[in-house]
């Protein structure tokens, strides 16, 4: 700055009454700074924050279809939602999905990531393959699973081959297995991608930590959970939050593509219910009331996960 103020900078050339150049440069710098962030901020507020706020407004409206008259419903939608057995089915399905899929994904991915980070034989191949589910779009993954789980698909074919033909099922069309199949898809694609994240993070843990553990005679199991895990605990928490959100909100797509929530409501999740009530059943107030519920569940989940993974040493 001292250099600048003594030099005849561009700023002093412009002003008719030459102010101290350093002050002028600083002022222009902060002004320019604020203005440059405005477009991105405006974009973000219009397309992301605005619609999010609108959810809460629409949730208080009675709106039976796009072209129908709108009236204020107050808490009417809330009681309609709470009285609907389908909503409670969706709550239960979402709870099962979260409780099964998220821990399975995180624990499996952590162990797999730890394994890859130790650079066992073939770890390059592992890394390459583990990443693939992260690249494939949701519709493509759903089509793969549709082909695998269909009545004459890969899974039933394989069961027949090994003599377990009696176990074959129409996996996506049977009330007892539809939700399970969706969870399987989540876990199948979630573990690989998450494991790569953990492996990358574990790769930056100093080697000395592992070596010290070995000298102390700690087994691999102990080294993995008692020594490395506490070091990256924060990071595991962040990844758990992300997976929780993806599972909670993202399930609408898989349900839509594979089971449409059925049979009955056996695979309807909360996020699919939001979609279904908005775009299929045209009960917009109901849909966005469930949207508010989803939002609150997401918030509560985030706070809980943050608390569980808080660094405690």
């Amino acid at each position: 700055m001292t250099m600048l103020s003594s030099a005849p900078g561009g700023a002093s050339v412009r002003g008719p009454v030459t102010p101290p150049p350093s002050a002028s440069v600083t002022k222009r710098r902060t002004q320019g700074g604020v203005i440059l962030a405005v477009p991105a901020l405006a974009w973000y507020l219009v397309f992301m924050v605005g619609p999010l706020v609108a959810i809460f407004v629409i949730a208080a409206l009675h709106w039976p279809g796009m072209l129908q008259p709108v009236s204020f419903a107050g808490t009417g939608n809330i009681s309609a939602v709470l009285d609907d057995p389908v909503f409670w089915d969706a709550v239960q399905n979402t709870a099962v999905q979260l409780v099964v899929a998220v821990p399975l994904m995180i624990v499996g991915a952590y162990m797999l990531g730890y394994y890859v980070a130790q650079k066992p034989p073939g770890h390059r191949v592992l890394r390459y393959l583990l990443f693939i589910p992260g690249l494939i779009s949701t519709p493509a993954k759903a089509m793969v699973f549709y082909a695998v789980l269909s009545p004459d698909g890969l899974l039933n074919g394989a069961l027949d081959k090994v003599g377990l033909g009696s176990m074959t099922d129409a996996w996506l069309a049977s009330p007892s297995t539809a939700l399970g199949s969706l969870i399987l898809l989540d876990v199948w694609s979630g573990i690989g991608f998450t494991a790569v994240l953990f492996a990358a993070r574990l790769g930056s843990v100093p080697d000395e930590i592992g070596e010290a553990a070995q000298l102390d005679g700690a087994g691999h199991w102990r080294a993995m959970w008692r020594i490395h895990f506490p070091v990256i605990r924060d990071f595991v928490g962040v990844v758990t939050m992300l997976q929780f959100l993806w599972t909670l909100f993202g399930s609408a797509q898989n349900v839509l593509l594979l089971t449409q929530g059925g049979p009955g409501s056996s695979s309807t999740t909360l996020s699919f219910l939001v979609y279904q009530k908005a775009f299929i059943a045209a009960d917009l107030g109901y849909s966005q009331t469930v949207g508010v519920v989803l939002f609150l569940v997401g918030l509560a989940g985030l706070l809980t996960i943050r608390r569980v993974f808080r660094q405690n040493y």
């Binding site: 900078g9 902060t30 583990l130 779009s137 004459d152 839509l256 979609y275 939002f295």
Partner: protein, 275 residues
């Protein structure tokens, strides 16, 4: 003896998952060259001929040609807009010293916690209100907004590492703020720009639900992710055609991944780590 006998269960579990990961993909690939009879009769065998009949059939029946072009168009334009918005914003935040800059940064970093899906219906209303419902233009405008938090936060990290002296030297030569951004900051954070391009390429190319609702099913406008699932109902249960179409939509992403594997992994990892 780092990987002694006690590692055996770990080896087994890791490679077992690998098998579970690869088998459906292998099945996808070989089925694309088979007829239904062959798929049901011998799901695991290699195809007897590498006929491209399924590919051409899926290509024409789901109108994948225009769909791929639409996806490319939307993805490319949305990427350009993302950079045009995120680079100046990151520049402003990285250089700001006051409380305002910190506040703006906080707004963007909290944006990570807003899942895109949450506001699907209000976004649909916004599209209808602006007269851009059933257009690709709305997606080009909308997708960058979803990418803003991650892109800005990653770029700010890169721009903070650029020493102040670089800017001061440019200022001495009479450079304007815009010139500093263009000739000093942008070239110096190319790795950051590459990272957000790769990350957003993946999310934009793979985006499904918003494209479905907002662009809609018109074969001339829809993206490839919307076109693909229509094969399921169009072809009834011809798995050969369905899998061939799926393979076609995966090719661009898979090519980019194989060429840029290291860089892409870094990009995705940093996307999650920077949260």
């Amino acid at each position: 003896m780092k990987f002694g006998r006690s590692w055996l269960p770990a080896h087994i579990f890791a490679w077992l998952y690998m098998v579970l990961l690869v088998v459906p993909l292998y099945y996808l690939l070989v089925s694309a060259f088979k007829t239904n009879d062959q798929i049901f009769g011998s799901p695991f065998s290699l195809p007897t001929s590498f006929s491209t009949a399924n590919f051409t059939e899926s290509f024409s029946s789901a109108h994948l040609g225009p769909a791929i072009l639409n996806s490319m168009l939307v993805t490319a334009l949305a990427l350009v807009l993302t950079l045009a918005l995120a680079i100046p914003a990151a520049f402003a935040i990285a250089r700001a010293e006051g409380r305002l800059g910190a506040l703006v940064e906080r707004v963007f970093s909290l944006g990570f916690l807003i899942p895109t899906f949450a506001a699907l219906f209000p976004t649909f209303l916004l599209a209808a209100a602006t007269g851009l419902f059933h257009t690709r233009a709305f997606m080009v405008l909308f997708l960058p907004a979803t990418a803003m938090p991650l892109s800005v936060v990653i770029l700010v990290q890169f721009m903070r590492t650029i020493p102040r002296e670089m800017e001061e030297a440019a200022r001495m030569d009479g450079a304007s703020t815009f010139a500093v951004l263009r000739h000093v900051y942008t070239p110096m954070c190319m790795p950051g720009i590459a990272t957000i391009l790769l990350l957003n390429f993946l999310t934009f190319w793979n985006e499904y639900l918003y494209s479905l609702v907002i662009i809609g099913p018109d074969p001339d406008l829809r993206t490839v992710q919307v076109a693909l699932p229509t094969l399921k109902s169009l072809t009834g249960t011809d798995y050969g055609i369905l899998t061939a179409g799926t393979v076609l939509t995966l090719v661009p992403v898979w090519v980019v991944y194989t060429v840029l594997q290291k860089r892409m992994q870094q990009a995705l990892v940093s996307g999650a780590v920077k949260m």
